[in-house]
Assembly symmetry: C2
DNA sequence: ATCAGGCTGTGACGAGTGTCACTGTTACAG
DNA sequence: CTGTAACAGTGACACTCGTCACAGCCTGAT
């Protein structure tokens, strides 16, 4: 039994222990069985590029395990990270549905397990399974929402500290806190954070240093501790 | 026969002369008839607010005639325009599909005719008509695309002139040109343009003045003439 | 005609931040 | 243990652009 990149492959969605409560994972069994027949399961190492902006859509990827980074790059090489995709989410859905080129690039950030479904198979599947089609629509609407949120963050904020504060709060959302504050794991470099909030690496370093000095939040290694959440909320103007 | 706000209402989608080739308008007749039964047609004056960000979704609006402005506003009153919606497009789709609050505000920019469909009716309609559901997914994927485009514009560009150039090129896309250049009608103030590209009114005025001086483009009244398209393309770095 | 209100055009000024250049720190391979 | 590369921290500087302030200019109402 091969387990490439340290992953144990789960071949069958129906008995999959990774199943989340989101999107395609929790379809009724009849639809899930149909999906199971047309999917291909594969494992990828960290840093693998699933698709590149500009390519014609080959199909969709369902992320079972790991993290995937979605980004776009400008002509002069500047990169903007759109999203870190979590297990249970689908990649390449809008390009596949509308048959337009992928407008973003997807790259694994960790070793990942993914299910791939070819475009033709997938569209046929959607036509035959109304519940799945509705799920797809819901998934797309979430993508829209997160995109709109990022537009707000980029377009309506006045400063880099404000955008960084917004990002930290987003991460903190739904996490529990103890007496020291909210403790979160982030596996991102300053450079990557800069690419998310659309600023430079130096500004992120400086701003985080500023937050540390003011005892608002501390990022050490891959551990972020938010000590003063109200201060962050004040920064975003909420 | 009342024709409010100078509009002549078209009550029946099947015989509608406004039908575009996009989205719900060109559904097969069987689905269109079903849609016709659950929709409410209404006319609105310019400046009418269809829904506000934060409200729970009541349903979707299909724009038959007129223009609608989609925007979000920050806590401190700054406004960002996301899109000017054209006839044939659907409003409030993602909020309705995912049953989350509208995260944008929709306001008519001209007298408009709209079809409204209640949420429950619409979701039932989607479940029963697979073709319509697929259309809805396609529509959502277009919304995503335009959102991603705006993210690129806001996050990856270095300067206001670059963003303005990108906007002008977007407007020029698909328009014919004569010897004087590409002539486009835009019914937007400098203020509104500023809110689209996320800058200040003064910067738009100054940049347009600069474009005029360099004979790149001239905006006079509501007529925009693009004289030197290559110069704009060079500005966006393409 | 007169006035008000919205839009456009312009100047001055300073905060914010991108860029460059460098040092310090950590992690990991040989 | 050492060398190397990636990442983090920091200072200096220029430059963009947001902000304030005000002057023309239209359009429509009175």
């Amino acid at each position: 039994m091969g387990s490439p990149y340290g992953l144990e492959l789960v071949e069958n969605c129906l008995v999959c222990k990774l199943r989340t409560d989101s999107f395609f994972c929790n379809l009724p069994n009849s639809s899930l069985e149909a999906l199971d027949k047309i999917k291909f399961t594969a494992a990828y190492p960290a840093g693998a590029v699933l698709f590149v902006e500009g390519q014609l859509p080959r199909g969709i990827y369902i992320l079972c395990k790991g993290r995937v980074k979605l980004s776009t790059t400008s002509a002069d090489g500047k990169t903007l990270i759109l999203k870190i995709v979590q297990p249970g989410e689908v990649l390449g859905l809008h390009a596949t549905v509308s048959n337009t080129p992928y407008e973003i690039t997807a790259e694994t950030a960790q070793p990942c397990q993914l299910n791939f479904v070819k475009r033709d198979d997938f569209l046929r599947f959607l036509q035959q399974h109304g519940d799945a089609c509705l799920k797809a629509a819901q998934h797309l609407s979430r993508d829209c929402q997160s995109a709109y949120q990022q537009i707000r963050s980029l377009g309506l904020s006045h400063s880099a500290p404000e955008r960084l504060a917004r990002l930290l709060l987003e991460w903190a959302h739904g996490e529990g806190a103890d007496e020291a504050g909210t403790r979160i794991k982030v596996a991102l470099t300053h450079e990557e954070i800069a690419q998310i909030i659309g600023t430079s690496r130096e500004t992120v370093t400086r701003t985080l240093g500023d937050f540390r000095k003011k005892q608002i939040a501390v990022l050490k290694g891959s551990t972020l501790v938010i000590q003063n959440k109200p201060a962050l909320e004040k920064l975003v103007g909420a």
